[in-house]
Symmetry: C2
Subunit: 573 residues, 2 copies
Amino acid sequence: MRISKLVGERLKEASSAANVKSHNFLLRAGFLKQVCNGIFSLLSPAQLVSLKIQNIIREEMNKVDGQEVLFPVIMPKEMWEKSGRYYSIGQEMVRFKDRNDHDMLLGMTHEEAAVHLCQNTIKSYDQLPFMIYQIQTKFRDEARPRAGLIRVREFTMKDAYSFHYDKEELKKYYQKVFDAYVRIFKRIGMKNFIAVKSDSGMMGGDVSHEFMLLSDIGEDSLVVCPHCDYKANMEVATSMEEKPVFKDEDLQEVFTGKAKTIDEVCQEMSIKPEQTIKAVCYAMVGDDKNTVVVFIRGDKEVNEAKLKRVLGKDVAVKDLSETGFVKGNIGCVDLKLPNTKILYDNSLQNLCGMVTGANKEEYHLKGVNVSRDLKAEQFYDLAKVKENERCPVCGKPVEIKRGIEIGNIFQLGTKYTKAMDMTIAMPDGSLANPLMACYGIGVGRALASVAEESCDEKGLVWPMSIAPWQVYLCPLRLDNEKVKEEAEKLEKQLQEKFEVLYDDRNVSAGVKLTDSELMGIPIRVVISPRSLENRQAEITIRKTGEKIMTELDKVEKTIKTIIEEQMGELCGK
Amino acid sequence: MRISKLVGERLKEASSAANVKSHNFLLRAGFLKQVCNGIFSLLSPAQLVSLKIQNIIREEMNKVDGQEVLFPVIMPKEMWEKSGRYYSIGQEMVRFKDRNDHDMLLGMTHEEAAVHLCQNTIKSYDQLPFMIYQIQTKFRDEARPRAGLIRVREFTMKDAYSFHYDKEELKKYYQKVFDAYVRIFKRIGMKNFIAVKSDSGMMGGDVSHEFMLLSDIGEDSLVVCPHCDYKANMEVATSMEEKPVFKDEDLQEVFTGKAKTIDEVCQEMSIKPEQTIKAVCYAMVGDDKNTVVVFIRGDKEVNEAKLKRVLGKDVAVKDLSETGFVKGNIGCVDLKLPNTKILYDNSLQNLCGMVTGANKEEYHLKGVNVSRDLKAEQFYDLAKVKENERCPVCGKPVEIKRGIEIGNIFQLGTKYTKAMDMTIAMPDGSLANPLMACYGIGVGRALASVAEESCDEKGLVWPMSIAPWQVYLCPLRLDNEKVKEEAEKLEKQLQEKFEVLYDDRNVSAGVKLTDSELMGIPIRVVISPRSLENRQAEITIRKTGEKIMTELDKVEKTIKTIIEEQMGELCGK
C-alpha cells in the first residue's frame, strides 16, 4: 500500500470529545471516522487490524472444534417471543415492522437463532457436544456510547454457542473455551487482563465470567484479591463481614436538627458512619407507585446490580417528593408507609447500639438493636465491596480495580432450549433439553482495548500479530533520484515477504517519522541520502524505540528476525 | 471436521417450496436453514464456501488497489437526505427510530457512506484514483424473495466505490474492475456468465454493466447477439427497426363487434398483429389521477423499465374502470380524454395502412397513417426486443436468454459527490466534485449461482476453489477394527495438508456415498475391508465421476495432483 492513496488523514489533534487515549489516537491516525453517536466507519488500517483479530479468534474457535456459521442479523419477533426476551429486553434492542407489517428485530445476541438452527437437526445425545459460532455485525442501541470503539452502538462480534447433554461435560467444554479466550487475548497482544466472576444479566444462567482488561478508563469495578485467586465483578463480588460492635442500649430519640446526611449526623453525634443505618430509596422501572427502601450500614453503598437481581427488576433512584418519607430522617424502626417494600442488607445483621432516622423531621434514633427492634425476616447481600474489605475466599484485604470488558462467557443451562422446546434423545431413550453455554468477544472493542493498553505519548503501538502493516517503509528526500530508486526497489522486494506501507510522499522527514509513530506500525525502515552513502537503512522498532543500522541487502533478514521474535513473544514462546 | 458433530442433516427430500435446484440441494445437503421469508441461517458448510468466495473477492479487489474498509449498516437519515435517496427509495429500505427518536435506516448500499468517509480527508486530485470496498451484511426488504439464496432479504455483499478526477481515468479504472470481476467469477467456478449493458436504476449515472450467469431460473431477460459483441439487459436493449409496409388508405371505421384483443381483431379483420396499433395503459405510482397511454405496434410489448426512465417514475398497469376509456377499442387517432399522457413507441414511426381502436364500442379504425393522422411530436424507444430482431450493432438476429445477476458495476459520475458537496482541488487550483463508480457482488447469491450451475442429479458439485472441504474421507464398515485404524491414520495425515470432512458414522455404505455426493465435496476417498486387502483406497472425483484406485501411501500425492489440476483450470491455466 502507498500512503499517498490511503484514505484517511493523520492529524495533530483530535476533536476535544476524544478524551480517551485509544479514541484520540485512532481518530488522529486515520483509523476511524464517526458517522453519528456511537456509529463509526472503519478506515482501511482499522479494518486490517479487525480482520487479523477475527482470524485469530477464528483459529482459536476452530481449535476447540467450533463450526463457523452465520445467523441473520434480522429476525422475526416470534423467535424472540418464545424465549421471552422480546419483552424483557428494553430499548437497546431495535424493533421495526417490515413491508408486510411483520414485527422484526435486530439481533443483539443469537441464543434463539442458535437453538432454531440446531432444533430438529440435532436429535441425539451422541451428536453433542458441539459449538457453533459466527462473526457478525450487531447493533445495540446503547444509551451512552463512549470512548470511541470501546462502547458503540454498532459493532462486529464473535458469538459462540455450545450444546451439551450433561453438566460435567458442559463444565469441561466451558473451561476449554475459557482457555481459548486466554490464548486469543494473548495472541492479539493484550497484557493486563484477568477473568472475573460476573453477573449473567439478560443472558440468564448461573455461572459466568468476564474477561477484563485492567484499565483506568474501564467502566467496570472489579474486586481482586492479590493473595488468592478471587476475582469478581463488583456486580457480584462479596466480602467477609467484619461486624463492628457497639454498646447495646435502649432506643432513644435524639434531636439532630438539620443534620440529614450520614456525614452530618456523624458529626452531630460524634460517631462513625459504621454506627449508622441509612436508607436508600429506589423506584422499580415501570412502577410509579411503590418505593423500595434498602437499609444498609452507613459506611456501605448499595450495589444496584445485586438489588436488581433480588427484585428481578431494573431500579432507579427514587424521587421522594410527595411520598410521605421524611427525607434525611428515614429510619428502620417502625417505618410504616403504604406502597413500600423494605429490604435489609447483610451488614445490619446482629448489630446493636446503632443510629438511624426517627422518621420525623429533626430527629434520629440511637441504641437501635437490629435483632430486637427490626421486623427483618430476611437479610440480603446488597452492598458494594470496598477496598481492603476481607476476601471471601482467603480473608485477606482485597483491591478494587477498573476494567474494560473484553469478552464474556456464560453457562446458560436449559433456559433457551426449554423455552424453545428443543429436545434430544438421551442414552436411556428419554427426551431432555440440552444444556447450553455462550461466548462473546467484541472485535472492535478488542481493537480499541489493545490500542488503549499499547500506546505511548507518540501514538499507537500495534502488536505484531494485528498490526495493519508490519513494515513502514520510509524514504526521506524522495526528490533525490537515488533515494527514490532504492526505495522502490526495496518496496518491491519487501512487499513479496511482508505487509508494507510505503510512504511515497514528498513531505518533510518530520512529518513522515511522526506519522509512522502515530500509526503504530511495528517496524520502520528509513533510507536517506546519508544512509545510502554506506548502503544502509535504519530500522526502528516501534515498541522499544531500538534502532538498528542494517546493510541494504540485510534489511529483509533483519525484518524477518524482528517479526519472528515479536510473534514468538505473543504466543508465549 | 467429523461429520457426526457437524450441525445439519442430509435429507432425502427438501420442502416442496424449494423448486429451484440450488435451493433444493442446499437445503437437502444441510447448508441452509430458513428463519423466515427471505432470511436464512447459513450452516457451517455454506459459511465455509461463503468465506472462500469472500477471500477470492478480497484478493482481486486488493489486486486493483482496493482498500478494505467497513461502513456502518445503520446510518442516520440526514446522510441519505443529502443524496435524496431517503425519499426516492421505497419500502425495500428499512427505516426506524432509535431510542432518542432519531430517524435511522439500514443501508442497502453505501454511496453516501463512502462519500462521507472520504469527504474532507481527500482534498486534492493527486490523492485520486482510489477505491474503497467492504464485505458486509445488507438488508433489502424485497417484496418477493425466491429461490433460496438467489433472492433474499438479508445477504452478505461486497460493495466497492472508486473516486476519480476525470472521465478518462474513471473509464480506465472501471475497465480494470470489470476485468477483476471476470477473474472473480472464473475463480469461484462460474462457467456461462456474460456482462451486459444495464439500467442504472436507483444508483444513478449513465454507464453500467451487469454480470449475468446464464440460467433458465434467471429473473432477467438478456438480449445477446451471437454474431457480434452486443449483450444487453432487456431493460435497456434495442434492436434495428424493420418497418412493415402496408398500403396507404383513407381512414375508415370498421365494425369489429366483440373483438377486443389484438388476436381477436386480427382474426376478425384477417390481418397480422404488426398491422395494428395497440394501447397499453399505466398509472404512475403515487398518482391516482392521470393515465399514461403507450401506443405501440400490436406485435410488440412495452418495456416497463424503459417507460419508467422516460417518465422518471415507477409505473403499474392501470385499472381503466371509471376512466372514460373504451377498453379494447382505444385508438391513437383523436383520443381526447382529460388527465391523459400519451406516448408513442418508435415502432409506429412512418407507418401507414394501420388498424387501431376507434375509441368507441364495437369499432376499430383502418387506414391509419401515422404521419398524417397522429399528432405525435416525439417517438420514444419503449418496446421490448424480441428473439430474432436485428442486432443494433451488426444487424443480425439476436437471441433472448435468461440470466441471474451475479454482479453489477456502475459509472456514477458526480451524482453523490455533488449532492453531498464533496470537492477536491484540481491541478489548476479550482474545486471540483470527483467522479465515482461503484461495484457490487452478492456473496450468497454467488454461492447459490455456482450451486445452480454446478450440480447434477445426485447433488451439488463444488468447484475446488470454494468447496467447504476438499476431501471427503469415507471409510466403509467402521465396525471393522482394521478399517477404523487405517481411516483415523489417514484422517490425521490428510488433515495436515488438506481440508478434510471425515465420515466417522457407523452407517451403511449407501448413506455415506450418497451424502458425499449430495454435499458435493470434490474428492472422495473410500477405504473398505476389501480395498485394504490390497492396501488401496478408491478416490472418486465428484465432477467427472472418475475413479482412481490408489495405494494407501500415494493417496496424499494423488489428492495433491487433483487439487492442483482443478485449481489450475479455475485460473484459466
